[in-house]
């Protein structure tokens, strides 16, 4: 299997942004479904949801700028064309959703006539007029885009683990900085793994 060039990684800024945003986005998705389905946790979760969403928006902008300045390592040359296309499409979909979700949320809160509260005593300005129809459209969009984002994140995790455990082609390591070994019970082989980089 043709590996990505050993030692080729996403730059450190990209790696730090990726893993911190991975955590933030997963927390955000669970906070989001939890706050709309709980009769007791809503106040606390809403208070967390709004500032965390804006933080993700700012991080996503930073990440996009970093990515445009520092192109990511190329995918392995032998990766089937359809997988390459899927990888590129899903990455750009993730970028689009990372930017769209907070913006749609911010506009939705504005259109609902709610204060865009960040923390006590500090609100962001409204970015959309207070309007019933606009609110309803944005509220629906926010919910469905969240489901799409979650599904894309799951596909991304599955693909990352496929690269790490099945193909062992350096793609996972290019973001992780190191490989994660498949638990021995599941991989009773003595083959070289990502932890033994080829020369």
């Amino acid at each position: 299997m043709k590996r990505a060039r050993p030692g080729v990684r996403f730059n450190p800024v990209a790696r730090v942004l990726h893993w911190s945003m991975a955590l933030a986005i997963l927390v955000m998705l669970f906070v989001g479904v939890g706050m709309v389905s709980s009769l007791s946790l809503r106040p606390a979760l809403v208070e967390l949801h709004r500032p965390l969403g804006i933080a993700i928006l700012l991080l996503a902008l930073l990440r996009l700028a970093n990515r445009l300045r520092h192109p990511p390592p190329a995918l392995p040359a032998d990766l089937p064309r359809i997988q390459k296309a899927a990888a590129h499409a899903s990455h750009w979909l993730l970028y689009a959703l990372m930017l769209a979700m907070p913006l749609v949320g911010w506009a939705m809160v504005s259109a609902g006539g709610y204060p865009v509260a960040m923390f006590r005593g500090f609100d962001l300005p409204a970015i959309a007029p207070h309007d019933a129809t606009l609110y309803a459209v944005l509220r629906t969009a926010h919910g469905w885009l969240a489901r799409l984002l979650f599904a894309t994140v799951l596909a991304h995790i599955a693909a990352a683990l496929y690269h790490a455990w099945v193909r062992r082609d350096g793609v996972f390591r290019s973001m992780a900085g190191a490989a994660i070994p498949l638990p021995r019970v599941a991989a009773p082989t003595a083959e070289p793994t990502e932890t033994n980089p080829s020369p």
Partner: protein, 369 residues
């Protein structure tokens, strides 16, 4: 591929077999956790959506574009004028001796936008105050001095007990009796509903915040409080005959007539708890607690809700300025959650063009008659 791949393809196949269950397990666990968080795996868990469904069922039908509870009311506008006395309790800007404008709503309990004004046991006042420091305070107050129950589950059971039986179109008395037996704390509310006098107007009705909040002063000290809006308009009670004889929009007409003669005022009276006083909203605090008049609500004008500024406002009682916080009262959090679902549903009704009456684009059946 074989010439560049140091690993035999049979080993690759073995790795796939070994790794796939792990990948599937991780992805499935995340998906299940998400579905559980959303309540999709627990159809019996009480969620804001299911609570709102119960309210819609107790209304007998869904009135598109209207609030799912307290559907009938009018918008009002005016200002709150602090007298400075509240500043020792809370850092909220509205308590300074300044005028803070509000968009408010006066309404009656019940889910029908065609409810009879003079037959509604419960009346309410909601305010959205926009203070000059850019902060907002939303309040939703009721004419009852305490809730009937203390827990969200009991509140849900109360709603279900009041749902009309399809056979008779009225709530099942046996079911209501069973609810009252299971919730002895409800007796206090039932007694209020049966015996409290009915004021002749929104203008001489007392509106109570009912839930407990925390006021935070400039130094960061917290006080546990409740508050009431006590009318400056003299109290007068309606007789049962007056109530039966009153027209459907009696309160709205009365309000407009009174406003033609001048502004209407309520004193905001804050009650400060002593240590150990409960946040249970079905339990009034002892009468000897300290009461502080902190300012005056002044209503200057009224407009129909279909075209008024209050229509698209969710009077969520947990939208608070700095200086005011919610308490651990579980009913407070539940109100916030259920109001949000009610708001989403009526705004969707409007967006889908199903709310011609609620938005004033079509006369109500009442007006056509």
């Amino acid at each position: 591929m074989a010439d560049t791949d140091p690993v035999p393809s049979t080993a690759s196949a073995r790795r796939t077999v070994a790794a796939l269950p792990g990948i599937v397990l991780i992805v499935a666990a995340l998906a299940l956790a998400f579905a559980w968080g959303a309540g999709w795996l627990t159809p019996r868990r009480l969620t804001p959506q299911r609570f709102t469904n119960a309210i819609e069922a107790s209304n007998g039908q869904v009135w598109r574009g209207f609030r799912r509870a307290h559907a009938k009311g009018v918008c009002v506008a005016g200002y709150f004028e602090g007298n400075g006395q509240g500043m020792a309790l809370s850092d909220a800007r509205v308590f300074a001796p300044v005028r803070t404008p509000f968009v408010g709503r006066l309404s009656i309990g019940g889910g029908s936008p065609y409810g009879l004004d003079a037959q509604a046991r419960v009346r309410s006042m909601a305010l959205q105050l926009d203070s000059d420091d850019g902060q907002q305070w939303r309040m939703a107050m009721n004419s009852f001095p305490f809730f009937g129950v203390a827990s969200v589950e009991a509140f849900y059971e109360q709603t279900r007990a009041n749902t009309p039986d399809p056979a008779t179109g009225k709530p099942d008395p046996a079911r209501r009796a069973a609810f009252a037996r299971a919730h002895p704390e409800f007796a206090r509310f039932a007694d209020w509903a049966a015996h409290a006098p009915w004021p002749t107007s929104w203008a001489n009705t007392t509106f109570n915040g009912v839930n407990t909040f925390r006021f935070i002063d400039r130094a960061g000290n917290a006080s546990q409080v409740r508050w009431s809006m006590q009318p400056q308009t003299a109290f007068a009670a309606m007789t049962p005959e007056q109530r039966t004889g009153a027209d459907a929009d009696y309160l709205a007409r009365d309000l407009a007539a009174r406003l033609a003669g001048g502004d209407l005022r309520w004193d905001m009276v804050v009650t400060v708890a002593k240590p150990g006083d409960t946040v249970n909203p079905s339990q009034p605090w002892p009468e000897d607690r300290r009461h502080v008049v902190v300012g005056t609500v002044v209503v200057e004008s009224t407009t129909p809700q279909a075209t008024g500024a209050c229509r698209d406002i969710n009077y969520d009682p947990l939208i608070l300025p700095s200086g005011v916080e919610g308490s651990d009262d579980p009913i407070l959090a539940a109100r916030s959650a259920v109001y949000s679902v009610s708001f989403n549903r009526r705004e969707h009704d409007i967006a889908q063009g199903k709310a011609a009456v609620a938005t004033g684009h079509q006369a109500s059946p009442e007006q056509e008659r």
